[in-house]
Amino acid sequence: MKKVAKNKFSQLWNSINKDYELFLPIEKDGKVNFSLWKDEDKINLDAIKTNVSPKNIIFPQSETYLKFKTDGKKLSLENVGGKKEEYVLFGVRPCDAVSFNLIDNVFLREPIDRFYEERRNKGTVVSMACLEPEETCFCSSFGIEPETAPKGVDVFTWDIGQTILWEAQTEKGNILTEKLGDIFEEVTEQDINELEKLKHSIKDKVSSLPLSDVDPKKIDGDLKDIFESEVWDEISKSCLGCGSCTYVCPTCHCYDIQDFDGGKCGERFRCWDSCMFSDFTRMAHGNPRTSQKERFRQRFMHKLVYYPNNHQVYACVGCGRCIEKCPVNMNIVKVIKKLGGEK
């Protein structure tokens, strides 16, 4: 473990930026989001929840992967997908870091999504402990401990006041640490004591959060019984189908593929899509999900039943963004509670 003084942050960003693209939580117009760092940007490392999750760094909202040209009957195709530059994604919260693993389960299983794989391989993820978990946080419901490094992050950090403690977790993390060299100081016994205190304090805060009792395991029984539960009628009634929840969600990964028509040449791109939209499943011969209830049910069945059946883990990390963003105050916590038998 090493430490770096906060007054050296400017030097830290510039040092990282020498060898990597650097993505940081940047505050702009009152909103904090992960984006490519530029010198004059206002960095905000205190925000627990960025406005949208950092998912867009590993799985861009829109990604062109094919260019095509037509010339009479001739067609030429050029693969332009993927990511060529090494990058560091700094300041990812443990819940969001776990969400990367959940998307990995889908995109990195056979046949491997090579664009995504390349983006993951090029990235070094530096995660941060959550000093002040918020009222809408419920990561502990999914076994996430925001004071410790989740599996998969390359470096984990703790803010202990004037310095952050830095611990590499993987080979990629070691390489980054080595490259930054002199910027670090050795940790003292006092730092370690501070860290232990901090971990305890975070643990205490997490256990007393208002949503700490949310328990997805209470949803049990047969897949079809849960699917046919009467609860869906009631809880889906208010859903507007706006899709906000899916766009801020760190684990939603459904996408669309579209062609941009530029006459004789054009591009094919994939972009985020939402199972909450009415044309998501529309085919030439009809639509198997014609009501918002059916689409609402699909989203939550997928996160809480189907995905766990396939990957033995829930497809939610308890970040709580959907709680903050839903315009009609519906969210996965209410769904978990209702499906779990709460009146």
């Binding site: 992967y65 094919l66 095509f68 037509t70 009957k73 001739k74 067609l75 030429s76 195709l77 693969n79 997908g81 993927g82 889908v106 995109f107 299983r109 056979e110 046949p111 491997i112 999504d113 090579r114 664009f115 897949l223 079809k224 699917f227 046919e228 990964h253 459904c254 996408y255 669309d256 593929i257 579209q258 062609d259 941009f260 028509d261 530029g262 054009g266 094919r268 994939r270 899509d273 199972c275 998501f280 499943t281 529309r282 085919m283 030439a284 011969h285 198997p288 999900r289 059916e294 699909q298 069945m301 997928h302 039943v305 189907y306 995905y307 059946n309 396939n310």
Partner: protein
């Protein structure tokens, strides 16, 4: 069967293929013969598997491969005009290049559960397209299978596809019967008239065989009921599901039904597997 995509190229990236032949089957179905621009088949597949066909800048759609894998040099696709991509495809001429990727999905278990069995194929309309890949595979490996019955129906005689196969090729093979029907009486048609599900009951098959069904959802539903009434068990019946697909590789989420992805875990399902799925197909 897993995708045999090139190891390093992303599965979403198509290859160029060329339309070598076009055969107009009905007023809305056309069969395209497709191969690599330099000749040869684009990729190997198994009966029932699908391919994603691309016509930039209109888009992509998933189609079942109509030809049998025993066809060494090319693939065929029988495509009904019913949306943007298919409309565009129907306007193409021989020599036009398209994009193709695949093969996708699982296949009918021709080398496992179907081997040595009597087979009952039940198709409706364009639903013959995926069944044809299995039927021709069976015909080319005739000794490996028992009696073959093919029940095929369409709205009118003019909507029957693969007429050379259903009228000439298949009936002339040993131990192979083709039973055709059209929905309504029409001039010049002296064959059976009536819907496929009721025709099945009239034909009165013994249940010591495996049934493979493909057709419009409503036909599949009533055929399944009919087969169960005459004593078929769900384990003896295979059919295909169709949901909207984009990626073809079980990631984009569109064809997710229950804990299955139709593009990857299907499109072929045994009926006892379908029973486990939510009723969203």
């Amino acid at each position: 069967m897993s995708c045999r995509c090139n190891n390093r190229v992303d599965p979403l990236v198509p290859e160029v293929a060329v339309i070598k032949n076009i055969r107009v089957d009905t007023n809305d179905v056309t069969t395209f013969t497709v191969e690599k621009p330099e000749g040869r088949k684009c990729f190997e597949s198994m009966p029932g598997q699908c391919a994603m066909i691309s016509v930039p800048p209109i888009g992509e759609a998933l189609f079942s491969i109509t030809s049998s894998p025993t066809e060494k040099n090319f693939m065929e696709f029988s495509i009904k005009r019913c949306g943007a991509v298919t409309e565009y495809l129907h306007g193409l001429e021989v020599g036009a290049e398209i994009g193709i990727r695949g093969p996708y999905g699982n296949n009918f278990p021709v080398e496992d559960e179907l081997k040595g069995k009597d087979l009952l194929f039940i198709g409706g309309g364009i639903g013959l397209a995926p069944l044809r890949s299995v039927i021709n595979y069976v015909m080319d490996n005739r000794d490996n299978y028992g009696q073959v019955d093919i029940v095929y129906g369409a709205r009118t005689s003019g909507d029957l596809v693969h007429t050379k196969d259903i009228f000439e090729n298949w009936p002339s093979r040993p131990n192979t019967n083709v039973h055709l029907t059209v929905d309504r009486e029409e001039e010049g048609w002296d064959g059976h008239v009536g819907f496929v599900p009721s025709y099945i009951k009239e034909l009165g098959f013994d249940t010591n065989k495996v049934a493979l069904i493909c057709g419009p959802p409503i036909m599949i539903k009533f055929v399944l009921q009919g087969l169960e009434e005459i004593g078929f068990k769900k384990e003896q019946v295979y059919t295909t599901l169709e949901l909207k697909m984009k990626c073809g590789v079980g990631k984009c989420g569109r064809c997710n039904i229950g804990d299955k992805y139709v593009c990857k875990d299907g499109p072929v399902f045994r009926c006892d597997e379908i029973q486990e799925l939510p009723d969203e197909y």
